[in-house]
Symmetry: C2
Subunit: 261 residues, 2 copies
DNA sequence: GCAGTGCATTACTCCGACAAATAGACTTGT
DNA sequence: ACAAGTCTATTTGTCGGAGTAATGCACTGC
């Protein structure tokens, strides 16, 4: 006989709506993972405002129908990402946006969960326009034959499938991932991966909004061509052009979305 | 009467060596904070190797002389930074470096805690050489009069005190912080702040190694001058020059250090 | 008016028990 | 002999409760 005094089964049923079901395995996504996502998204999207103080641990844990320990672990993960800070007497408060680790993959995911914020999209593209050409340029002068071959295969796969299929998106992801590897810089690799994750979300958003108006293969092909030729300047230029087009598409999707909520 | 069965006081005394004393207040730096730092540094510096599996929660908690709950909170914070992953039966293992969030301020701090890794320093400078000129350029065309004034004051303070004083380093920090603010891009702001933190650690390292061979004021002055003139290209060029000099100094300090451990 | 003190509130730490997932050994059927 | 399903031991996950430590704030005394 379990001692389950207050009804763990009933509790599990009540919190079933948080999206635990559709979770990748082994990523700590059970009760705590769901709570982290729930709170993280509410904070990043502004439902819980900056400088706002969360109710006490006991109260919040009860409201979410979880134990205090689990709630604390969730809060500590948010604290590790710079979203909140806890101290005795004052409680747990949402930190100023400048303290947020905006380059954390989870934070970006939460930021793009709903309707993307136009300012953030703009800032992100501005950053991409600085970083990604540099990455492509470095990849052009450092790539190994194996990486070149992998990028060719990924591009071929993109040509075969469309971006509307899961395989197509996978190939796009692979293309950029190999390029990141090829630039042989761990820091840029980390940054590029975060950005890539964010881009994937905006791509998904563009798809939700209304189809793909543009074939991404030509842009990617010209980037690859420059990398094959070990031409740093050409690679940078090609990547800038790719970004210009992507930004135009995103802006279109965003304004379409704005005009018809 | 407290029930303190196994001697909390004795435990606190035993773990006194972890550096809890010299901690900033209110940042969660008590027992858990010390453990996070301890484990984080051991992982990032390679004392605990990639793909290595940590001993079980109970065993590790006992070894560190802390409760299982506190240890779990610490591990969850490391997991939030992409350093480790836990799953039942398998245990907690160190993730591959590509999963690490190298742009997290804490991770960078741990990376630069001991002797800086030459590869990381190189990668970081390569990244700075891409990002920081862009930041300076944007700041040049977006700065407000207030920000201009603040940067002037910070530079003046740098001129008055040296970088060997706490006030001087503070002024340097302030200078770069205001510039980040002036570029009016939240994502670049986050990135710049992380980089700035890392730079502060290398600066401290340069100081430990053997004094400052160069006066940083002229470089900063020319950056500020370009920003005052709203000249984007000049600001980018000035920042590139500043970075070139800083990199040279760091390389010198690093090779000095290598030749005399 | 101001410095020092006490109190109430909040997070922090600890403990022990049970639940759930799962890698690996084992069993079974063909 | 081999494949597929089953069982078990191990590890993290979750829970509840109790005492500890820090600290903002009101109060007191000068």
């Amino acid at each position: 006989m379990t001692r389950d005094g207050s009804g763990n089964a009933a509790r599990a049923a009540r919190r079933g709506g948080l999206g635990i079901s559709d979770a990748p395995r082994g990523s700590g996504r059970r009760v705590r993972g769901a709570v982290v996502d729930y709170l993280g998204e509410r904070i990043v999207t502004g439902k819980i405002g900056v400088a706002e103080t969360l109710p006490g641990e006991i109260e919040t844990a009860e409201r979410l129908d979880i134990s205090r320990g689990t709630y604390r672990e969730a809060v500590k993960m948010l604290a590790a990402k710079g979203l909140v800070e806890s101290r005795p007497k004052t409680g747990t408060r949402v930190l100023d946006r400048v303290r947020w680790n905006l380059l954390d993959p989870d934070v970006l995911r939460w930021a793009f969960a709903g309707r993307p914020d136009a300012c953030l999209v703009r800032d992100l593209f501005e950053m991409r326009m600085v970083v990604e050409p540099a990455i492509a340029g470095l990849a052009a002068i450092r790539r190994t034959p194996d990486q070149l071959e992998a990028m060719r295969k990924a591009l071929e796969q993109m040509r075969a499938k469309s971006l509307e299929t899961e395989e197509g998106r996978m190939a796009d992801r692979e293309f950029h991932e190999v390029m990141l590897d090829a630039c042989a810089n761990e820091v840029m690799n980390t940054l590029g991966a975060s950005i890539g994750a964010a881009v994937a979300y905006t791509t998904l958003f563009k798809q939700r909004t209304g189809g793909f108006p543009r074939d991404p293969v030509p842009d990617h092909a010209s980037v690859l061509e420059a990398i094959e030729a070990s031409d740093q300047n050409a690679a940078e230029a090609a990547m800038r052009e790719l970004l210009r087009l992507a930004q135009a598409d995103t802006q279109d999707a965003l304004s379409d979305y704005a005009s018809s909520p």
